[in-house]
Symmetry: D2
Subunit: 358 residues, 4 copies
C-alpha cells in the first residue's frame, strides 16, 4: 500500500499546536513512519512566534527540534498540509475545523464540536471502521471534494468503548454503569487548579457524563442507510477528577444478555482481536486490550503507558450482584484518549485511501 504521495511522508498540520493535546500530537508524530509535521497552527496570540517560544511545553521529552524552530501559523486554510490533526479547544474548534475541511483539508479532530453530527464519523477504527463510509455522504451532502471531518471520542469514552467492543463481539451489552476517576491532564493546561485537586477528589467534570452516555452509543452503533443508528445499550456515567497526572481509571458494571460467566467474559477480553489488526497501522497496539490477573490492577501509574499508551488495561473482572459483571479499565487519556486516537484515525483513513496528497 502506498502510504505517502511521493515516496515521502504525509504532511500533517497540527491545529491547536501549543495546547496540551497539540503537544502530545507533536510528541507522538516525532519519528512517525508515515507522517511529518509540516505546520503548527494556533491562536492569533501565538501566531508568528517560534513554536518553542509560544508553547509552554509540559511533557517529559524535549520539543522535537524540527518543530521547535517552526513559526506558529494562524489556523487558516492556506496551511501546507495533506491533512490536519486538531487539538483545538472546543471554544474555537467548531468553526475553524469546518472552514478548513470546506477548503479541502481532511480534518481529524479530537475536539467535541462535531462528534455528534449525523454525517461525521466518531471513529475508533478497531470498533467501527465501517463508520468511515459516512464520509461519502458527508462530502456529497456538504459539497466537499477532498476535505472532510472525522472525530475521535472523549478521553473517558474511549476507555469504556474498547472493552465494551470486546464484550459486544461475544455478547449483547444491554446496560453499562461506569464511575470514573479521571486524571488532571484531561482538563488541559492550566486546567484544574492545584488548590482544587491536591489531596482531593472533585465529583464533577462539566459535560463529561453526557458525553460518555451519548458518544458510547454512537460508537457502538452501526451505520445504516439513514445514517448512524446508536446502540440500544443504556449507559449511566458518574465522573470524578482525582489527583493523578495521566490515566483515567473506570469502574464498570455491565448487564450482558444471557448472563455469561466471569470466565467467559475474561476470555472475551483476552481473546479480543481488532478487526483492523491486519492493516498494521503504526499506532495500533497489539493487543488492544490487556487483561491483568492481579487483584490490584490496573493502576494509572503502572498501566497508563501499556501498549505505548494506546492499549487499555482491564482487570478485576468479577461478578456484580446487580448487573452481572463488573471490572476496572484504565486508559491513557491524552494518548489513547486524545492525541494517539487522532493519529490512529489518520493512519486508518490514509490506509483506506480517504486522504489524497495535495
Amino acid at each position: 500500500m502506498t502510504k505517502a504521495p511521493s515516496g515521502g511522508r504525509w504532511r500533517v498540520a497540527v491545529l491547536g499546536a501549543t495546547g496540551a493535546v497539540g503537544q502530545r500530537l507533536i510528541q507522538l508524530l516525532e519519528n512517525h513512519p508515515w507522517f511529518e509535521v509540516s505546520a503548527v497552527a494556533a491562536s492569533e496570540r501565538s501566531a508568528g512566534k517560534l513554536y518553542s517560544d509560544a508553547a509552554r511545553w509540559l511533557l517529559e521529552t524535549r520539543i522535537p527540534a524540527s518543530v521547535a524552530s517552526m513559526r506558529v501559523l494562524p489556523c487558516a486554510s492556506n496551511l501546507e498540509a495533506d491533512l490536519a490533526l486538531s487539538g483545538l479547544d472546543a471554544r474555537v474548534a467548531g468553526g475553524i475545523e469546518h472552514s478548513l475541511a470546506e477548503a479541502g483539508i481532511p480534518v481529524i479532530s479530537n475536539a467535541r464540536n462535531h462528534r455528534m453530527e449525523p454525517d461525521v464519523p466518531l471513529l475508533v477504527p478497531e470498533i467501527n471502521a465501517a463508520h468511515a463510509e459516512a464520509l461519502t455522504v458527508q462530502r456529497s451532502r456538504r459539497g466537499w471534494k477532498s476535505g472532510f471531518l472525522v472525530t475521535n471520542p472523549n478521553c473517558s469514552t474511549v476507555g469504556l468503548v474498547l472493552p465494551l467492543a470486546a464484550l459486544s463481539a461475544r455478547f449483547t451489552v444491554k446496560r453499562v454503569s461506569v464511575s470514573t476517576m479521571q486524571a488532571i491532564s484531561g482538563a488541559g493546561y492550566p486546567g484544574v487548579a492545584s488548590l482544587d485537586i491536591l489531596g482531593n477528589v472533585i465529583p464533577h467534570i462539566a459535560g463529561e457524563e453526557e458525553k460518555m452516555e451519548t458518544e458510547t452509543r454512537k460508537i457502538l452503533g452501526r451505520l445504516g442507510p439513514d445514517g448512524f443508528e446508536p446502540s440500544k445499550c443504556t449507559v449511566s456515567a458518574q465522573c470524578h477528577r482525582v489527583p493523578v497526572q495521566d490515566g483515567h481509571l473506570l469502574a464498570v458494571s455491565t448487564d450482558l444478555e444471557g448472563s455469561p460467566s466471569v470466565d467467559a467474559v475474561r476470555d472475551a477480553f483476552a481473546s479480543y482481536r481488532s478487526s483492523i489488526e491486519d492493516l498494521e497501522l503504526p499506532s495500533h497496539p497489539k493487543p488492544v486490550i490487556i487483561l491483568r490477573d492481579e487483584p490490584d490492577r490496573p493502576q494509572p501509574r503502572l498501566d497508563a503507558m501499556a501498549g505505548g499508551g494506546m492499549a487499555v488495561t482491564v482487570g478485576r473482572v468479577r461478578p456484580c450482584p446487580i448487573l452481572g459483571i463488573k471490572f476496572n479499565v484504565l486508559v491513557h487519556n491524552t494518548i489513547r484518549g486524545a492525541a494517539g486516537a487522532a493519529i490512529l484515525n489518520a493512519e486508518f483513513l490514509v490506509a483506506k485511501g480517504h486522504v489524497q496528497a495535495r
Copy 2:
C-alpha cells in the same frame, strides 16, 4: 438523665490506643462531657511506656496532656474502666475484646471481628437503635452480666447506610450500586506505601467490597424474634484507594421502589431527622445528612469535617438511566467511619442504661 455514676464522668479505656483509630478516640474524647480516658491499652510492645513515647502521633492537634503522661497498659481484664472503646487491629481484636467483655467490661469496638455475629449489634444509632436490644440475648446466651460487645460498621459502609436510611424512611431501597474513592487514613499507619498511592489510584482494598455488601444489609435489617434479619436490598460495591488524606467519597446509584423523582429524593435527604435526635448525645450531629446543591460537592477536602466529622454530605442527586437515582456521598472515615462512630455508640448505650458504673 444521670449520665455518670456519681456526678463525675464515665471512665473509658481505649484499646489499641497507639494506633490510628486509637489516636482519634483519644483526640475526640478530650473535653468530652460524659467520658474521660482512664486507661490506654495496647500491644505488649508498647505496654509500660509513656503514651507520648509509645504513640507515633499522627494528628494535627497535640496529644491531650492527661493522656500523654499515662503509662500504656496491656489489654487485660483488670483495666480500670466503666467501658472500653476498641480501636484494635483486626488481627488481635477478636480474642481481646471477647475476653474483656466476658470479664464484665462493655466493649464498643470499631474492629470488624464481631460485626457479623448473630447476637452482636452492628450499631448506627440513628438507623437501628432497636438493634441494641440484642444485648439482652447476647448476655443471656453468653452468660455475661455487665460486659457486652457492640460494633460499628466499616468506614465506607457508614457513608452508604446513612443516606440509605434517609431513603428508607420514605421509599423501599431495592438495589444499590456504589463505587468508592477512599482516603489513605482508612488503612491505618503505616498503611499504604507512598510509592503505591502518590499520583495513583489502587482499585482494590482487601475485604472492603464484601464488608460493604454484607454489613449494609445487617444494619438496614431488623431485629426479629430469631435475631437479625438482613435487609433484602441488593448491594454491589467497587472500592478504590485514592491519594486523599481523610474522607471517603462514594458514587452511589440506587433503585427505589416506585421510582420517585429527583425532587422527592432530595427532599428525603433534606428532611431526614434521626430518631435519636432527642437524646442530645454529644457526638450526634445536626443534621446527620447535609444536602449540598453545588454541582461539584461533596469533596473530601471541603466536606470531610462537616458536623465535626460526624455528618455525611450528599450531593449531585440526579437521575440514573439504569437504576433511577444517583448521587455522591462523603463521610469522614476516621471520625464518623471509626472513632466517632464508636463514641456515639458508647453515648447511646450509656444514655439507654446499658452500661453500669463498675
Copy 3:
C-alpha cells in the same frame, strides 16, 4: 483599654474579599472580639453580587452567614468602615489602597505594593512595634488625617523574621541563608496549575527571593530620625514551590556573632517572649515560637495550625559547618503569612490608638 468606638466592635471593610486572602480574612474575623466585617469589596466584576455568589469559597469552614448575604461593593472611598484590611491582588492594590488611605481610611494591607516605601511600616508587631511610629511622618508628609497605610510582609518572609528576631534578642545575626519549600495556597486562586505541581517541585516563585532578601532587612532594621534603617544582616534566599496545601517550610542556616552553641540558640528560641505580649491582642499567639525536639519536625501537615496558625514552629536546631547554626521553621502562609498578620497588625494599631472611629 477601650477597644471600640462605642461599646461595639470596630467596623472592618475587607478589600479583595473574594480572593484567597480575602476569604481567610473573613474566616478569621468571624467571632472576632474587637472587629466585625462591615463591608466586603472587590473588583468591578464581583461588585453588586451577593458575596456567596461572587466568591468561590475555598476553605473547609462555611462562609459566615452575615457575610454570605452581603452585597459586594467596589473598592471605593465611601465604604462604611473604621478601617480596611486588604487582601487585594498586587496588580490593583497600589492605587486602590492609596486612594482609600487618602480618603481617610486606615488601610492595613497584605499586598506587596507599599511595603518598601520609606514612610510605610512593614509591621510585625512582636518584632518592630516601634516602626508604627513612622505613621506620624507618613501622615504629615502626605497630608493625611485619619487614613494611613501599614503593611505586613510576604508569607515566606514572616517565617524567617520571627526566629531571626528571637536570635537577635540575644545575638547579632550577621548572615542568613534560607531555602524555602512553599505551599500552593501562597499563590492564590487559581494560582498554581495542578499539572505543574502534582508530584513535582518548582524551583522558582517570581519575585519571592528578592522579597525575602529586602523585606527581612527592613523588618529587622530600626526606625531612625531619617526613616527606616535596614538591618545589616545579609540574606540569601532560594525559593521552591512544593505540593503542600498550607504551610511554608524553611531550611535556614545562619551566622551569629560570637558563634553561640546549639544549646544557647535553642534557649533563645525557647525563651523568646514577644514585646507586645502584655497587650493581649486576640490574634497574638503564646508562645510566638514553638520549639520542637523531635528529629522530624516541623512538618507542614502537623504544625501549620500551631497557635491557631499564628505561631511559627522551629525544629532541628543543629550546627552548620559553614555558617554555624542551621534549623527548620514552619509558618502557616495564609494565616501568619497573610490574613492573620494583617489582623494582628490591625489589633496592634487599634490598641495603640492609631485608629479612630469614623
Copy 4:
C-alpha cells in the same frame, strides 16, 4: 576493546533483586549491550520462588521475560556470574557483599556499608576514575584475587558532586551548602508511609546529611600514596523528603575561590566534558550536565529522565549574596543515584580490565 569473555555478554548477578534498587537494575540491564542478568539473588524469604512471584514490581515497564521466570537464589558465593551488582539493603549488605568479594566475585554496590572504607573506591567514573586504582591496594591488603568491592555514592550525593566536579575543573570549591528536596523512591519499598508524606514535607532523612557531607569530600578528593585524601571543601547539607516520585532536587550555594562571575560558572557547567567520554560506556550520558536557561527549571517531573536518567540538570545559576553562586540541580535518584550509577561503574571497571570472566 573486548567487552566480554567469549564474544557473548558478561554474566551479572543482581543482589537484592526484589527490592526497589534491584528492580531498577533489572530494568536497566534489559537489552544491555555488554551485560546479561545471569542470576537474581535475594533474602532467604524470597529464595526459591519465581522472580515474578517474589518481587512486588513497582516500575511502569514489564518485568523482562527472561528474569520473570528465574528462580530467586540466596546471596551465596556460588552464584554463576562474572560480577555482581548489589541493591541490597544496608542492614544485610555489609556481610554478604564482603563474603562474595572474598569468594572471588567483583561486587559493585549501591549500599552504603563499604563506601567510606579506606581501600574501597567511592566511584563516580566521570569524576574520580583514578580512584579505581585503589583496587590494587584493596586486593593486596585483603588477599583477594578476582573479587573486589566498589561502591557508588548515596543518591543525593551524586546530584551534588557532578556539578561540583564541573566547577572544580575550573575553580577551587571552598564551601558548599545544599538543601535537598528528595523523592520518595529514595526510601525504597514500602519506605515512606503515605500518611507521612501526602501533601507534606518531612525535614529529616536518617543519616542523609552526614552521608552528603562525608561522601562528597571523598569523591572529590584524590587517591594519594597513603590512600584517599578527602577534598578540603566544607559541605553543609539539609535534607527533606517531598511528595515526588522520582528525582531529587537540590538547592546549592557555593563559595568558589576567586569569586568567578555567573557567566563563568555557567560556562563551566555548559562546557563540562567527562574525562571518560572516550570510553563510550553504554550508560554514560552525553552531556553529563545539562544546563537549562528557563527560570523555573530543573523540575523533577520534567527533568528526572534527562539523559535516560543518567544526566543531571542544572538551572537557575545566579549570584548568592553570601557564598557567591547559587543554583539548582536535579538528579534521578534511582537511576543516576543508584542502579544506573552501579551499572556505569560496572561498565567502567570492565572497560578498564578490572573484571575477568569466571
